[in-house]
């Protein structure tokens, strides 16, 4: 990537712990100015190690980190740490190394505190802050540095849902106002998606996939990645390519059930056993509106709502599939377990995964 301000090449980081030797390997990873990369992965995948290495806090055993950034590279830790003193002092002390005049520093401190909605806490002793306030302080402190590269390690940890919501909006605004290259590490996919335009998936110390956000969400390269990025519906079947003149091939699940697969997706893939991956939000229940290809009848099993989204599970061809509806709208108001519905999907929303 040409506008990369921080790049990792052929990186190997080894850490020895009580549970053995952990090895992180990243062949190539770039952080570009004005872009937000979400690093997704389960606990222990090496996400924090990756961030620390990118920040220069851990020495790789092999490979290199190329810094072309003009400004600071800073990392906000998973467990935010405040220094003794007031909230304002905590931000000010971070600016001490930048050789700014006093007034400029004060203005930056005020701006950063306001950005993260903690201006009212400026005089408070930082060691008396709540978890959420402390996290905001840590973010404000890093933000005040006007970093060229901003690395965030689990910025939504131990916040209640309302706190996560408002912090993700503040963070989004803060990022939008800069041209920083941002990497955010999280196991919370939804939070990561609120911020990012690129996704890297880390599994057991290996970069399993990276790319544009929509690309990774729609076309995960493996089942573990699919699980991680929320491609919940994975149906096994036999791939049958389109016969002369047909627009779509199909994944044949059984005699009555088949899922349309676009011809270009079939092309280059062997016939035989595949998994059809369909994101829940792309699976439609009870259509009639002509959107997508009907794939047959299903029976509703559970309907649960968090007030915003409704999660509906249905049984189709003996398998449980999942779909999301918006609460309080249309079908979501009337659907109940035991109801019979028709499922449909657009062929372009069907992705093939090797089983």
């Amino acid at each position: 990537m040409s506008d990369a301000v921080l790049s990792a090449r052929d990186l190997v980081v080894r850490r020895t712990s009580r549970s053995g030797v952990f090895e992180l390997r990243v062949d190539a990873l770039d952080l570009a100015a004005g872009s937000v990369l979400a690093v997704l992965g389960p606990n222990g995948a090496g996400k924090s190690t990756l961030l620390r290495t990118l920040a220069g806090l851990e020495k790789p055993s092999a490979g290199r980190i190329e810094r072309r950034a003009r400004g600071p590279v800073t990392l906000v830790f998973q467990r935010p740490i405040a220094f003794a003193g007031s909230v304002a002092h905590n931000v000010d002390v971070a600016l001490a190394g930048q050789g700014l005049p006093r007034e400029a520093r004060q203005a930056r401190v005020a701006e950063a505190l306001a950005h993260f909605d903690i201006a009212r806490l400026a005089a408070r002793n930082a060691h008396t802050l709540s978890g959420g306030e402390l996290r905001r302080l840590a973010l404000a402190r890093a933000f005040a540095l006007q970093p060229a590269v901003w690395l965030l390690d689990e910025p939504f940890d131990d916040l209640d849902p309302a706190g996560q919501e408002s912090l993700s909006l503040d963070l989004r605004r803060a990022i939008d106002g800069t041209n920083a290259a941002v990497a955010v590490v999280t196991h919370d996919r939804r939070r990561a998606l609120l911020l990012s335009d690129r996704i890297a998936v880390l599994l057991a110390g290996r970069l399993a996939q990276q790319g544009g956000r929509e690309e990774v969400l729609a076309r995960p390269t493996s089942v573990p990645v699919a699980q991680l990025v929320g491609m919940e519906n994975r149906v096994d079947g036999e791939l049958v390519p389109p016969r002369g003149g047909e627009e779509n091939g199909a994944l044949v699940v059984d005699a009555q059930h088949r899922i349309p697969v676009r011809a270009e997706v079939c092309r280059g893939r062997s016939t035989g056993q595949w998994l059809a991956g369909i994101r829940p939000e792309r699976l439609k229940v009870d259509v009639g509106r002509g959107e997508g290809v009907p794939i047959g009848k299903a029976v509703v099993r559970t309907v649960v709502s968090d007030g915003v989204a409704v999660i509906v599970t249905v049984v189709w061809a003996g398998r449980e599939l999942r779909t999301y509806l918006l609460a309080g709208r249309g079908l979501a108001r009337s659907l109940a377990p035991g109801d019979s519905v028709t499922l449909s999907v657009r062929p372009e929303d069907v992705h093939l995964l090797a089983p």
Partner: protein, 218 residues
Amino acid sequence: MTELSLPLVLAVTARTLAVCGTALAIALLAGLPIGIWLGRQRFRGRVLGVSLVNSGMGAPPVVIGLLVSMLFWRSGPLGFLEWMYSPRAMVIAQVVIALPLVIGITLAAVGALDEDWELQARTLGIPRGRRLWLLLREIRLGVLAAVIAALGAILSEVGAVLAVGGNLEGETRVLTTAILMYTQMGQFELALALAAVLLGLTLVVAGALTVVQQGGRA
């Protein structure tokens, strides 16, 4: 029989403060960096160092007096300095008593910090000198505890200063050795008067430091 005179009490008190103050200053100057270093670095042999410090914290002063005496004895390795029975030898003995306390309490305070504390300061680009200042500020309650413990130990200690100082009038007589001497002579009035001064001193010092310590917690 020695008369209890104000100049005498003042002189003994002043000498006590001078010896203890010097010893404390040296112990802090040496002990704080060592404590910070031991508390932060992970290296082979660290556990040995820490256990050495821990046992030093409880070392009997009279044994330290014996060892320092052997060091400065005329035929000892440092005998040529002719420091035996001088305030310098007393300062050395008290530094040996205070140093493990300062190191031990400092390293405990540093150890109680988040293990990423240093990295956090570094990733914010805070310069080295400023980081050290921030660290001292962070562990200031521990540092004050170290001062209180060290000063309390050397102010009230008698075995080591008697062994290396010899309780020479006008030269190495300090409050504790004077109290001991007058007690043995049966001059309880004098002993009591000096004891009152010593007690007052420890109370004032501990009280003042406690006020500072608790104030810093607000």
